[in-house]
Amino acid sequence: MDSTTFVVLLSSVLFIIGVLGVLLRRSALLIFMSVELMLNAANLAFVAYAHRWAQLDGQIFVFFVMAVAAAEVAVGLALIVTIFRTKRSTNVDDLAALRG
């Protein structure tokens, strides 16, 4: 197995662990951290293939993904703080106000 295949395999394992975190954990904070883990796994695949094809563009895309992740964290944590003020909880099972 060459190093690119190994890194992409590692990236997919990390992505699946992130998916499991989003699906199985109940704390909004933990779900959010799992989303960060998934974004990081995607970055790993980008850099691995940038190395594989000897192109710089993959690294530029990682830079943009990081910028979007930073923006997402700022807004997402603001949302969690606001929800915590009204519900006194970060458990997503308590957020049932929109249940039909």
Binding site: I17, L24, L29, M33, E36, L37, H51, I60, A70, T90
Partner: protein
Amino acid sequence: MNPDLPILVLLGAVSIASALGLLLSRNAIYAALFLVLNFGVGAVIYLLLNAPFIAVVQVSVYAGAIMVLFVFVIMLLGAERLSPGENPPGTSFQRPLAIALSGLLMGLAIYVLFARQPPAVAAPPPDSSPLAVGLSLFGPYVFPFEVVSVLLLVAMVGAVVLTRNR
């Protein structure tokens, strides 16, 4: 520079172990610190893959700014202890289904990765110094770069508006 596979295997083991620690921890602060470890290992892998600029940005933005924000919010809310909780009625089938579907996704990823091997290329590695990355950012990618600055402004305004006291 061709990274050594044994070093990558070792880094991958630490990376997966820290991700599992994030998945299984019962304390949000521990989970955040596991994620910092994961990002640090990711930065070392970027260095091995000839991406020094991305490695430094990973440490300063991800492991630095983003995780400090996480830890700050966890401590501000005092929400570090996570109770296991019980399933809401009628959803007890969802957790095994989630694990089964994630396993299926993993299998598909492995199949696609090994069934469609790309041909070997013998191109020389590109110049990935910060200078080259900067020239690329302000050359062909200048429009996305400007869009990102607007996005960050919108996120900043959004965070201020959402958390303001009314």
